[in-house]
């Protein structure tokens, strides 16, 4: 038996489910997470899965957090639901001392397979399942619901709330509904009769969820594309971005068919590769439709020639990049923020591209919609930089909002009427100093406004030219346009420490929840930090002033090469010494503990009293 005091915690612990990919566990695990939410207690779940369809290990980690810390906690598992013999040793080793191990005890396990500093809860799941069900598929699926029932008893959950969720899920399918509820109680009743319930870890009803929603970033981004008026989606399957296109398809099927004719107000093409998908986006945008593609790092690599064309010929394009660990195939199912350089400067020659960095699904929705306005206004590529952690995990976030009076910003498009009024049309002519020229759409006017689009150098009236002065004039205007973009993209958000401090931290994207939590941890250790969350590239002028206001600024990011830091140094001419990189890049989501430890260690070193001062 355990020599360690059993863990005791209410609404603040980590449950990890170890399963076999393809065994149908995902829906039961999600049901658990949603059931906790229904208790008014925030959760933050994460899928940890291999590049595989069936057979390999997969984990689902649920952080139960009444305090609302939605970043990964790290530091091991408090309750391990060990349903995968393949990963038993690793799973058992990952339990914190005093933690709990819940396993299927149908087959006896040798005592060497356990630890004496954890609490072991054996339930003969297979035996219970097999004595109740004969169909092999049913046995597998209901076993998952049965362990959920056991958990509800162990953690003192209200079974009514789980039943309610099952009821919503199987609305109109009475047979499935009642059999699931039955399975739930089978597990729950067994536990109540045979185990000491509840254990030290408990779910207690709270009121900390509010009106927040629970959604994957990819789904939210797809919805943002629907609301943002995207009509053409061309894509090529790649993890972890495929579910953006799939979600866009599903939303369009429900929301974008003409009520009378049933015809589609959108076109989705699964292209032959990423070159074709971005080519279609460029073609559609050139012709005035709002178009996007969705991909991940390797796809961006393939698209770079077209991205250069979009930049130089000034054609709108929206690319949703759900980042995964690179380089090359890298770790396709692990998260990183590793494509900032690849996207920010994609393609040969001098190029710069707009990037948006949402922190969660709610921003993924807003920024996806905004990306289309920005792409058309700026006539260039706009990247929506998601990552696997935001994209493929359900995240608690504020409800999605849309202003019904909002109109799309189609940018500077010269119409037939404007041409007939005698307006001077120069495709690459900067008429008002913002670096953005007018464009015409094909088919606009019988005799005016046509031009030849090309990736080669040309003058302000789109006439081919390799004159040095003409080329320089054009690329300087492109730079001016990029400066204009600074004030159009979402601004950085600053949050100052309670007390004045000489130290700051810059971070972005999916690091946000871990950074928020790390701030609390650091404050508890006496370290005050002003914070700036960057939400877009090009950087707003407030980034440079934030750095100027502090002695040191930590730049926290999830890649090896400090890519955001590089961009800040390059674009703002900052002395690199003033930017201290805090880097996390093992493919797991960054944690508050990691950030707090890294920054705390650095702060402690700075705060060592100088020798001279001590002597004097």
């Amino acid at each position: 038996m355990s020599q360690q005091a059993p863990l005791s915690s209410v609404n603040d612990f980590v449950v990890r489910f170890a399963n076999v990919n393809g065994s149908g566990s995902a829906s039961a695990n999600e049901l658990f997470a949603r059931a906790v939410l229904r208790h008014g207690v925030p959760v933050s779940p994460r899928n940890i899965f291999p590049s595989n369809i069936q057979g390999l290990p997969t984990w689902y980690e649920v952080r139960v957090t009444e305090a609302g810390h939605l970043g990964a906690r790290g530091g091991g598992t408090d309750l391990m639901v060990a349903m995968n013999p393949q990963t038993w040793d690793k799973d058992v080793a990952g339990i914190v001392p005093g933690g709990y191990l819940f396993y299927d005890s149908t087959k006896p396990m040798p005592s060497t397979k356990f630890r004496d500093d954890i609490n072991v809860i054996g339930v003969p799941l297979t035996a219970i399942t097999n004595s109740t069900y004969t169909d092999p598929r049913q046995r597998q699926l209901f076993k998952n619901i049965i362990y959920l029932g056991v958990l509800s008893a162990l953690l003192d959950m209200d079974p009514k709330l789980i039943e309610q969720l099952i009821g919503e899920q199987y609305k109109g399918k009475e047979k499935l509904l009642s059999s699931n509820v039955h399975a739930l109680h089978l597990g729950r009743d067994w536990a109540l009769q045979n185990l000491k319930c509840p254990i030290g870890l408990r779910i207690r009803k709270a009121d900390k969820v509010g009106d927040r929603i629970f959604i994957e970033g990819n789904n939210a981004a797809a919805l943002g594309a629907v609301y943002g008026g995207a009509t053409v989606c061309a894509w090529y399957p790649i993890t972890p971005s495929s579910s953006v296109a799939e979600a866009f398809t599903n939303h369009c099927k429900k929301l974008r068919h003409d009520k009378e004719t049933g015809q589609a107000k959108y076109a989705i093409v699964q292209a032959e590769d990423e070159l074709a998908s971005i080519g279609m986006v460029v073609g559609a945008s050139w012709n005035g439709a709002r178009a996007f593609t969705t991909t991940s790092g390797p796809g961006v690599s393939l698209m770079t020639e077209f991205i250069g064309l979009s930049y130089f010929a000034e054609i709108p394009a929206v690319i949703i990049n759900v980042q995964r660990a690179g380089p090359s195939t890298g770790m396709p199912t692990r998260t990183q923020q590793c494509d900032l350089i690849a996207c920010g400067y994609a393609s040969h020659g001098d190029t710069k591209h707009v990037m948006l960095f949402p922190e969660d699904p709610a921003e993924a929705f807003e920024f996806a919609a905004a990306a289309f306005d920005l792409a058309e206004r700026l006539q260039t590529t706009v990247f929506l930089m998601l990552d696997l952690d935001i994209g493929m995990n359900q995240r608690l976030c504020r409800p999605l909002k849309w202003d019904d009076s909002r109109q799309y910003d189609r940018g500077k498009v010269m119409t037939a009427e404007m041409l007939d009024e005698g307006r001077d049309f120069g495709r690459y002519l900067d008429v008002d100093g913002d670096g953005i020229p007018f464009r015409t759409l094909p088919g606009t006017h019988p005799t005016k406004g046509s031009y030849f689009t090309r990736g080669t150098s040309r003058d302000r009236y789109a006439r081919y030219s390799e004159e040095g002065a003409v080329y320089a004039d054009n690329v300087q205007r492109l730079l001016r346009k990029f400066q204009t973009a600074q004030d159009m993209v979402p601004r950085p958000l600053q949050a100052n420490a309670v007390k004045p401090t000489k130290y700051g931290v810059i971070y972005f994207g999916s690091t946000a929840p871990a950074m928020d939590e790390a701030t609390e941890l650091l404050e508890a250790r006496g370290h005050q930090l002003d914070r700036l969350r960057i939400r877009a590239f090009p950087f707003h002028s407030s980034v440079a002033s934030f750095i100027a206001e502090h002695d040191f600024v930590y730049v926290v990011e999830q890649n090896r090469d400090a890519q955001l830091r590089q961009l800040i140094v390059t674009e703002n001419g900052i002395d690199p010494v003033r930017l201290v990189p805090i880097l996390h890049y093992d493919g797991t989501p960054i944690t508050a503990r990691y950030i707090a430890d890294s920054i705390g260690t650095h702060q402690d070193q700075i705060k060592v009293t100088p020798l001279r001062k001590a002597v004097s």
Binding site: V232, A264, K265, L441, S450
Partner: protein, 351 residues
């Protein structure tokens, strides 16, 4: 290369079409290709076809890749929007453009390097999808702009200008187009404008993926003895299976010669293709037969030309996707955005 600007002068008695446009209204800038280039003849045929069909020039979108052939859209339809894209990627750009606005006419111009090598995949997939377009490959078997390297359509055993023999097997784009379901497939020769112009006209009026392979000798790098894409070689080995006339009006069809040898095909848009048979055995409705016929004749060194296959009942990518009649690029927020009430419902389902 010519640097002078093209004069705007038009002869007052110049022939006008139904829209009141003359040939000059379908011209573009002065060609910068070599004097005598086959591609310039194709340009002239495109101009002729558009004039004859009385197409409004600005309703055409001209899209090309990279290479000599891909430069030509600058030399015709000066009042159309043109897009010189990236090497081998015209088909994807054209597909996207077509999705955005189904009302324009899409003319894709490419070369053998552009479509059979770097862009072979995009060529194949645009054909597979049935994009409504006229896809013209100006095929000279050689990379002209980079000075004479073999392309993937060069025949095995043919000689380069430098005397090197090609040992790779050729890609026959017509054969591939047939296999992948193109619904209008033709081959012609830049030196035979009489054959080429109606083939282009028929393709423009065709609803679906129309593919035309035009053998177009490269005067600078592939017009020598030993080349199988030279003017002399193509003239000697040209095996035309039919002659086409495109009839767009309501006029009765006049068949001057032996009526048994003329076949009338009516396309979706009401245009009629009058096909005068030159080879009695050739049936342009038989996809499999066409493929066999081409392979047999290719083995004998013959270049089969004419309208090789047509499916008058063809449909296109828009019908496959069931898109609305109104072009997608004209839909506005009111058509596209479901609004906050729907979002409220979605939010509620996510709690």
């Amino acid at each position: 290369m010519t640097y002078i600007a093209k004069p705007k002068f038009q002869h007052p008695g110049i022939k006008k079409n139904a829209l009141g446009y003359s040939h000059r209204d379908y011209e573009g800038k002065i060609s910068t290709l070599c004097a005598g280039c086959g591609h310039d003849s194709i340009t002239a045929s495109i101009i002729e076809a558009c004039f004859e069909l009385s197409i409004e020039p600005h309703r055409v979108a001209k899209i090309s890749g990279i290479g000599c052939s891909s430069k030509t859209p600058d030399y015709f339809l000066g009042n159309s929007h043109g897009f010189n894209t990236v090497h081998g990627r015209m088909p994807s750009v054209l597909t996207g453009a077509n999705l955005a606005n189904r009302e324009l006419i899409y003319l894709g111009v490419s070369g053998d390097g552009d479509s059979a090598s770097i862009g072979f995949g995009q060529f194949a997939h645009a054909i597979r999808r049935g994009v409504n377009m006229t896809y013209i490959v100006e095929n000279n078997g050689v990379y002209g702009l980079t000075k004479g390297q073999f392309s993937a359509t060069a025949d095995r055993g043919s000689k380069s200008k430098k005397g090197v023999t090609n040992t790779d097997n050729p890609i026959d784009l017509v054969g591939i187009a047939l296999q992948l379901g193109a619904t209008y497939v033709a081959r012609s020769f830049s030196g035979d404008k009489k054959q080429l112009v109606p083939i282009i006209e028929g393709a423009i009026r065709h609803k679906g993926a129309a593919f035309i392979d035009v053998i177009s000798p490269c005067i600078a790098f592939n017009n020598h003895a030993g080349s199988t894409k030279s003017f002399d070689y193509v003239r000697e080995h040209n095996d035309a299976v039919n002659r086409l006339d495109v009839l767009t009006g309501r006029d009765p069809i006049e068949i001057d010669q032996d009526p048994g040898t003329v076949q009338i095909v009516e396309q979706h848009d009401g245009s009629r293709l009058a096909l005068r048979k030159l080879d009695a055995d050739y049936d342009p409705h038989d996809r499999l037969g066409a493929m066999t016929f081409l392979q047999k004749h290719a083995a004998q060194g013959q270049i089969v030309t004419g309208l090789l296959y047509v499916d008058p009942e063809a449909d296109d990518l828009h019908s496959h996707l069931n898109t609305v009649e109104r072009p997608l690029n004209r839909l506005e927020a009111a058509d596209l955005c479901p609004g906050q009430s729907v979002l409220d419902r979605i939010n509620a389902s996510l709690r």
